[in-house]
Symmetry: C2
């Protein structure tokens, strides 16, 4: 018994009903997050924040994790496994615990200790690997052990369907939205949202956002296919890999209307604006979306997807202070 | 033409329909704020946050302000006046601008400059008075000028009805809530919420929260009537006056089930917990509600009303650092 292999064509055919089913299946796990008007100095320029940093565990990832856990539960398996740096796995651990499923998480040895500790607290079994061995699991879906159905954190139909529930909510909360701006990490979030918007007949422009320190999607678009890019580490740790995952490329190529690349200082300014204007702690990836949203604001409604809030408040404060060399 | 004088008996008879009408009248001004499960270190103890800090201008006050502005609009007056330290007036200015109403705000000369500047930016006419002259306006509702219908920030039926829309949302979002914990400033918030809960047949315990540096409601309850109390200034500036307003006492006496008084360190810890657990910047008054909520958590559902987020992020960080003398 196994989850069907990832098939981007099948994913591209997800229907409105599929996304509605996903939304129902995660209703006990995820919050219906608000769509918040974003004021700067008392002025409103048409930007709204879809505040996924308010989810349990601080990011949208609970949605896909809960939906896949629910599907596995109905398949009769009592055990699941995943490979993750930690964020997706935390969501899966919370959702699995709620459903009485056993979970094994395969992590690279450089995974953040705080995330590994959180996984233990949530009752998951954690197995560490060298980075190369871990990457092999991500590429092959083979953990080398009989530890249950394997769930991929990105290339997984049910995960993308769960993420898509955000698209349904955007269409309902902001029906006249002209542009939806989404951080690009692995592509599961932007594809899920774009597919759900299209499935309910919505024509909003979908913009994927990267940060200047690592922009593999912009490179893939100029190149015509995924290609390696350089990557500098920064406080923006939720997005920015060195290459677009091959199985995601057909979806990304078809669904993303534009790619925006923002600077670290634009991200810092956006993090500051979300704190002052909306009283929200948002992480760098989410700040990138808000920063890019300003490029489409003014006459029409823009939605910035605030993917998460998992940044140390002291790091947040230091980055905001670093803005403009102050 | 004038708004009827404040009559606490009439207020106590507000019906579910009145609150539903209020909710409808402010739908374009206020956000339907989420009810967020509050996790601490991955554990959930039954506490939920009604996140009114996510409202435009960062507090619940937009609700009452928008509802009263809407009512004045239907009375055919093009001009309104209020007396306020600035928070309520900002909400009223935003709501009045949207409805094409002229607004004059009477402020004491010690009102925060940042709030006065915000009022100007929102298009209000601002008149400054000595504190004593300003207090006279608050007590008599007479501004000494022909500047339109006078709207009181606390003792005003439509303001309380607007605040009550929060109670309807709590009843819908968390039907099994056993305890609702609300910061006590002037009483308009806790009375509005309690009345709306009762109007829809909800039996939740209603707790009003004060901070140790100024607790006039606890004093009024022991004394049997409003009485003067000492007040120390602190970073908790949204609650804590020196005496319960006489017109509010009958309502408070009838509607508040319990009063909780919390320490400044409890408030600091709650502000920190909201930032780490929910990625929310919350002000001291709201922190007081979250701090008190822990006293009723465990077996049953508790809702802490997060009244606002209007605290300077640097002050927030300094207070959190001051916690436990660290």
């Amino acid at each position: 018994m196994s989850i069907p292999a990832f098939d981007s064509t099948a994913v591209s055919r997800l229907t409105r009903t599929d996304f509605e089913d996903a939304a129902r299946s995660i209703a006990q796990d995820a919050v219906l997050t608000p769509m918040l008007p974003h004021f700067q100095d008392g002025n409103f320029q048409g930007i709204h924040l879809k505040a996924e940093n308010l989810q349990p565990l601080g990011s949208f990832k609970i949605r896909g994790a809960a939906h896949v856990a629910g599907q596995v539960g109905t398949m009769g398996s009592g055990r699941i496994a995943t490979a993750s740096m930690g964020n997706f796995a935390q969501g899966l651990a919370l959702a699995a615990r709620r459903r009485g499923l056993g979970l094994t998480v395969h992590v690279p040895e450089n995974a953040a200790r705080i995330k590994v500790a959180a996984l233990h607290r949530l009752g998951a079994n954690v197995v560490e690997h060298s980075f190369d061995a871990w990457w092999q699991i991500m590429a092959t879906r083979d953990t080398g052990a009989d530890d249950g159905l394997f769930v991929h954190p990105v290339c997984e139909q049910a995960v993308i369907a769960g993420n898509g529930s955000i698209g349904l909510e955007i269409a309902a909360q902001l029906p006249d939205v002209a542009t939806v701006v989404v951080p690009f990490g692995g592509g599961g979030l932007v594809c899920g949202i774009a597919l759900a918007l299209r499935a309910c007949g919505h024509r909003a422009r979908v913009v994927a956002v990267e940060v200047e320190t690592a922009a593999p999607l912009a490179a893939a678009r100029s190149h015509g296919e995924p290609t390696d890019v350089a990557r500098q580490t920064s406080f923006v740790d939720g997005i920015g890999s060195t290459r677009v995952l091959a199985p995601m490329w057909p979806l990304l190529n078809a669904l993303v209307d534009e790619v925006a690349v923002v600077t670290l200082d634009e991200v810092r300014a956006a993090m500051r604006a979300a704190m002052l204007g909306n009283h929200l702690l948002i992480e760098g990836a989410a700040g990138a979306a808000l920063a890019a949203a300003a490029r489409w604001s003014g006459s029409s409604s823009v939605c910035a997807v605030i993917s998460g809030g998992n940044i140390d408040p002291d790091v947040h404060a230091a980055e905001v202070r670093a803005l403009g060399g102050a």
